[in-house]
């Protein structure tokens, strides 16, 4: 089993630079194998998949669909055609909103999301709510930064047609009990969208076991290239949905006034796709499998435990995370009391420590918590205790600069 120090050697950007990269929640770094797979594709196999009848294009098609198969296996989808490639999780969510929700919801229906959702879920669902008249409802938190189980049962009702929930919060790091939400929502007759963008590089997700109706995630948060997203949908649901984007390669026959559409998955993949990126995603999945989820979890749990213990020693820091380590991912939000997160991040930058600061595309959550913004550290398998020590040292420097000005 590889250690995090050995894993770090696979990431040239980290190996060749002396910074602590603590922003994997925004985007992950890439191992050599992913970069090599993309390079290999463009130097040996590049042609437009599905288009050419020559061998280069046939090979490109095969590589492209091999990657689809890898995605299907990763999340245990029954059929490869249940995997649709998009440009990111946001596009996947928009596809569901425009193609499924607008055609299946009406004014007496309800949409339920959690208050910890990313804008990429909230904004499309607001659009659906405004266009269909369906009511948009929120599941709020208990006092330990977890979704309140009573809220779940109160908000999801017989009128609920769609529930959108993330497996892990990109701000709080809370791991949600997706399984019980899906089971309850199904009992009420609702379909469930699960956003696993923040968890797929960290913990496994099984679409068959959980019985999720839709699942979305982005390649770039799981060691793959930017510009590729995934939508999983149950075959029987996807088959009934109209296309989202119209154009080349999503068609069967095109007449002057009418068109019939291609079967899945092509129906939802209009225009030339990011084939190089998809192949990179395939290599990223190989990398995750090579390291193994059990090892990923072990490394990240240890790092998170260490980071939390060190942060708790700093009296000037407030943490925003659940006390239940079992329900906490490797994302940690905090503030230095009285210091704005942007000032913290700028000074940390000087000390070669890269963190995220701001509202993390989750303004409703921060407003609900009564804070403007937070500092966020998000850890991955390539991080080390040394990165965390650097963070702690730099936070002490921030406090040194600000302490005489902080108003109590």
């Amino acid at each position: 089993m590889k250690t995090n120090l050995q894993i770090k050697e696979d990431f040239e950007i980290l190996k060749n630079n002396n910074f602590a990269y603590l922003d994997t929640g925004a985007t992950s770094q890439h191992p050599k194998s992913v970069l090599k797979a993309v390079h290999n594709y463009y130097t040996k196999y590049n042609a437009n998949p599905y288009r050419g009848s020559y061998s280069l294009s046939v090979n490109a098609t095969e590589l492209y669909n091999n990657a689809r198969h890898k995605v299907a296996q990763l999340i245990n989808a029954k059929y490869d055609e249940e995997i649709i490639f998009t440009k990111n999780a946001t596009e996947s969510l928009n596809l569901i909103a425009y193609s499924y929700c607008l055609n299946n919801l009406t004014k007496n229906d309800e949409i339920v999301v959690s208050i910890m959702e990313h804008h990429s879920t909230i904004v499309p669902m607001q659009m659906v709510s405004k266009k269909t008249g369906a009511k948009l409802k929120y599941i709020y938190l208990n006092n330990d930064f977890q979704l309140d189980p009573n809220e779940i049962k109160q908000k999801i009702t017989k009128n609920t047609k769609i529930v959108a929930i993330s497996s892990a919060s990109n701000v709080l790091g809370t791991l949600n009990d997706v399984q019980s939400i899906i089971s309850y929502a199904h009992k009420m007759g609702a379909k469930v969208i699960v956003d696993i963008s923040q968890s797929i590089a960290h913990i496994p997700f099984d679409v068959t076991k959980t019985d999720a109706d839709f699942v979305v995630f982005s390649s770039h948060k799981m060691f793959g290239p930017m510009g590729v997203g995934v939508l999983y949908g149950k075959k029987e649901i996807l088959e009934c949905m109209p296309p989202f984007l119209m154009g080349g390669d999503m068609i069967e026959y095109v007449y002057e006034q009418d068109t019939t559409y291609a079967p899945l998955p092509n129906k939802f993949e209009a225009g030339t796709q990011n084939a190089g990126g998809v192949i990179g995603l395939g290599a990223a999945i190989d990398y995750i499998n090579e390291i193994g989820y059990s090892n990923i979890i072990k490394i990240e749990k240890e790092l998170t435990k260490y980071a939390l213990a060190q942060l708790k020693k700093l009296k000037f820091v407030t943490l925003y995370c659940t006390s239940d380590a079992e329900k906490h991912s490797s994302v940690i939000s905090f503030n230095i009391n009285g210091v704005h997160p942007h000032d913290v991040a700028s000074i940390l930058d000087k000390h070669n420590v890269y963190i995220r600061s701001g509202n993390h595309c989750a303004q409703p959550l921060l407003r609900y918590l009564g804070i403007d913004s937070t500092c966020r550290v998000s850890l991955s398998i390539y991080n080390t205790k040394e990165d965390i020590d650097k963070l702690i040292l730099a936070l002490k420097k921030v406090y040194e600069i600000f302490k005489k000005y902080i108003k109590v």
């Binding site: 942007h342 700028s346 930058d349 701001g358 403007d372 913004s373």
Partner: protein, 146 residues
């Protein structure tokens, strides 16, 4: 990485004092104009209140919240502009924005900026430029209507 000197030149006593203990962070009685400025990504949020009499800024103040740079930039801007005519204020706003956009300033122009020249090095911290500019852009919009 941000250069160490840039950081040291930004988080100075002058800037920290203005951000934590600004004499201009208060409500203004009967302002003649008021404008709200907001950086959606970072949550910096200010309301600028001015009292303009006979074409002159006789008093100004702000309320709001945000990072040390946005708050101190607002405070120091007000300090620089109280007592100035609208035309003088417009000129100073243009000079400040030029400075942030790394345009070369003459010594005379720098002098007109007063303490606001303290933000010169913010141009080397691109991620923070919008923080320093928030109040100045807000004021620019306000004065354009005058």
């Amino acid at each position: 990485m941000t250069n160490t000197n840039d950081i040291d030149n930004i988080y100075t006593d002058l800037i920290m004092e203005h951000s934590s203990n600004s004499p201009y962070m208060r409500n203004l009685d009967l302002p003649t104009c008021s404008l709200h400025g907001h950086n959606p990504n970072c949550g910096d949020d200010i309301t600028l209140n001015l009292k303009i009499e006979n074409n002159k800024i006789v008093d100004a103040a702000f309320v709001g919240h945000g990072c040390a740079i946005s708050q101190s930039s607002t405070s120091i801007m007000i300090e620089t502009l109280i007592g100035k005519t609208i035309d003088e204020a417009k000129e100073i706003v243009d000079i400040f924005i030029n400075m942030i956009e790394r345009k070369k300033l003459t010594p005379a122009q720098k002098k007109k900026l007063g303490n606001s020249v303290a933000f010169e090095n913010i141009s080397n911290m691109p991620a923070r430029v919008k923080c320093a500019l928030l109040s100045w852009r807000t004021l620019q919009n306000m004065l354009e209507e005058k």
